[in-house]
């Protein structure tokens, strides 16, 4: 294995400063993505950051890398296409809970069951921020938002259970108030061969007055501190359901499985983008002959 030459975080400094509200959890996530890329020594030319739409989905504009700022809910298929076109790229998807667990959840489930070698960092603030504070798929029951003035009466989605049961092979939770750990979790996800989902508590200081920094600080604990090993499917689901007074941070589940890329025959000949264009005379003629 080649020696990793770590790169400084400044390598990934974007062209413009983030436009997030002061205190937004997404600042910490941005820094953690940059830290993780630096730790793994990924050259900015080989890093592709893909997002959908939402406050957090503005992230690709704030990092020095290749980026795709796609449509609401469509970051996963766009990233899948770009990744399959050029498997030499490290593809990291960044977005919010509305984007990934709401409008885009269908794609997420299928990407996980395919076990594509992609890392997905979800900045989960349990609210729609860009659209000024409506309920999201992870908003707690009873939470009053602009679209649920009498309190949300839908049960929130559990992204970790969804990920583990859908076939993601690296499932973790981070907190933007715990940046050192978050950088390691993201680096672990990128280094992992297979689909990595990292759900990150990234508080919205403007529209979510319930799930705040103090809210999480009082409740979170680190799985690693309890000697938890993320290799047991059923135990990981138990931990994934933990909520309320004690909320786990860290890697919940990790397993080495065949990836989509391992099984796609055409990729065995190298990245598509580096393959020869067009057909050989022999193949071309045999295609005609089979139709006669």
């Amino acid at each position: 294995m080649a020696t990793v030459i770590e790169l400084p975080i400044e390598t990934y400094k974007g062209p413009v400063e983030p436009d997030w509200c002061p205190g937004c959890g997404d600042f910490g996530v941005l820094r953690s993505v940059q830290t993780a890329a630096g730790k793994l020594g990924i050259h900015p030319k080989d890093l592709l950051v893909v997002s959908g739409i939402g406050c957090s989905s503005n992230l690709p504009g704030f990092i020095h890398a290749y980026g795709i700022h796609s449509l609401h809910g469509r970051s996963v298929p766009v990233a899948t296409g770009a990744h399959l076109a050029n498997t030499d790229l490290k593809v990291v998807i960044t977005g919010g809970d509305g984007d990934g667990y709401g409008i885009g959840v269908g794609h997420l489930i299928h990407a996980m069951r395919r076990n594509l070698d992609i890392t997905y960092v979800v900045m989960d603030n349990q609210i729609y921020g860009l659209t000024t504070g409506q309920t999201s798929p992870t908003t707690a029951k009873g939470h009053k938002t602009k679209s649920t003035p009498n309190g949300n009466f839908e049960s929130p989605l559990n992204p970790l259970v969804l990920a583990i049961t859908s076939g993601a092979t690296y499932v973790a939770r981070g907190f933007s108030g715990e940046q050192k750990q978050l950088g390691e979790l993201i680096a672990g996800g990128i280094a992992h061969k297979g689909f990595s989902l990292i759900d990150v508590f990234s508080p919205c200081v403007t529209y979510n007055k319930i799930n705040t920094y103090p809210y999480f600080k009082q409740r979170v604990y680190k799985l690693e501190d309890e000697g938890y090993e993320p290799n047991d499917f059923y135990k990981s689901i138990e931990r994934a359901y933990e909520w309320g007074e004690r909320i786990p941070l860290g890697v919940l589940y990790k397993t080495d499985q065949e990836t989509y890329e391992d099984n796609e025959p055409v990729l065995q000949k190298g990245p598509l983008v580096k393959q020869k264009l067009g057909l050989s005379e022999q193949v071309h003629n045999s295609l005609i002959e089979e139709m006669i």
């Binding site: 030319k45 980026g67 796609s70 449509l71 298929p77 899948t80 796609e264 139709m291």
Partner: protein, 667 residues
Amino acid sequence: MQEVTIGIAGAAGDGLDKSGDTLAKTCGRSGLHVYAYNCYQSIIRGGHIWLKVRIGDEKVLNHGDKLNAVICLNQDSLERHAPEVNEGGVIIFNSDKLKLDPTLVPQGVQALGLPMTEICKEVVAEHGALQPIMQNTVAVGAVLALAKFSLEDASSVMHDTFAHKGEKIINLNVSLLKVGFEYANANAKAFTKEWTFSKKRRPFLTGNEAIAFGAAAAGCKFYSAYPMTPASTILHWMANHATEVDICVKQCEDELSVINMAIGAGIGGVRSMCGTAGGGFALMTEAIGMAGIMEVPVVCVEVQRGGPSTGLPTKTEQGDLFQVYGASQGEFPKMIIAPRDIADCYDSTVESFNVADKFQLPVLLISDLLLSEHPETVDPEAFYRDTKLDRGELVTEWSEAQGKFKRFRFTDSGISPRALPGTANCNFVSATDDHDEESILISDMFTSSPIRRKISEKRFRKMDLLLSELPAPKLEGPADADVTLVCWGSTSGVVCEAAELLTAAGIKTNFLVIKYIVPFHAKEVTELLTKAKKKISAEVNFTSQMARYIKMETGISMDGHINRYDGEPLEPREIMQKVQDILAGKKLDLDVSEADAREMAYHYLRTHFSEKLRPVKVTQEASNGYGEPIWNVELVERATGKRGGGMKIGARTGATYSFEKEPVEAK
């Protein structure tokens, strides 16, 4: 042109498509030209299937409106298609199983019942009992004899078709062909003269196969799709040939994923394509705009079928022009191309990839069920190999000394040199928000009206350049025509033949095929149509979408419209008749014809009484209290021929007013 049309009718699952294939490939190998049209239904077994194969010694442009021979595989088919056979023709059926009512046989038509058990005796003795489907092969043998086709070429097709099943199965099928061939020669008269076989071997393929083949030849590396008739056969071709042509083929969870993956692959740097039908395309529209604003090359195939909504999944229509034209919010450059025949499906697909790459925009290739699913023979030269694979302006190296790489640089041509992710010093974001030259968003924090104006103009400059590179449409046929027919897509084949028929009948007719819809040759089309005398559009839709589009682009209205929207393609004499009616100032007749009334009765009987009854006599009577003239349909019991009841169908509205039955066992 020497030509014959052969019909094969039966139920889904009867294997008639295989028989049609044998027939078509035989002719394709002999050097004849073939056009087949399969009027199938969206069910796996049962239902009525009607395959027409038109064969000529010159290029055949459509399925035509004649019928020289019919092979009927069940009783229903026999009753419905026997009366359609032209004089001199033949009705072929298994006389052990089916009974042909002599009153259904038109004057001068031969009835050739095949006593299967008797004539297959020796084959059964050698090979064992036959599966029912194998009797089709005997019938094909019979038609080969009477159509004067080559038994030798048919045998060679059998060799290739059954190569994977071994010598014994090949011999069995060749023997069955011979049985039918010899029996027909001894018991019926040929319905055409001897052919001159050029022996030029031509591939026999569908439009979808040509699109898929064209994509592979153009260097497509990624194809995504969600199964949807009538686009699925592109996916099937791609999947079957993936490792041979090195295309990564992805069946996705939905069409949103399909188009977004294809666009992602385009950004990633490969030539990518996706395909769908109208319903799937409706889901894709938002992403088409994304490709537009991000300036990503991608090819999207939209195969139209009967709409709206689920509509008629297995029937043809040209009803999606405005959907494709209007796809996605906002304004952005795109190309819409409508191939006119199967050779053009190949050519247009290759062109689509080149345009997409050079101009960095989405190319929407619009086909229809008839074009995509019907097979025909095409000269092998149409599938040229030395395609110019123009990847456009690609930056492969950039040094920091050159300054900041501007992905969306404002250029004269509007085309900004593109870099692929993985290229050093060219980092940029492909953004759905509008952006400046460096791809920094101008949508939120740094809004800028002049930059928005200049990037819009930059994007649209590409369209001017693209238009200047596309060949303008031309009138085909006599220059001094009395009538100019206007059409697009698969309708061009039948319009071409109708124009020839009209010209031969003394009404000089030429025609205009619109292939490039966006960008549109407004100036050239205005010039052509201003000079044209009577302009008539012919489209397989209700609202004459191309005629409306031309009016929007040129201000020119048609003098008449020909429309068909019953799921079936237009036919040459139908267009001819309608042109004559329009010239005579005749009002459009939408009444229920006698043939319509008979088909409507069949529909009612099939859906309510299985197939126990059938219509016999159809007569019109006065309104009789229904407020409109009435078609009276007499019904008989299929098994006994005894009177079974009657139906009354409105001659204007088509309403089923009454159904009375004699005591007969209900379904």
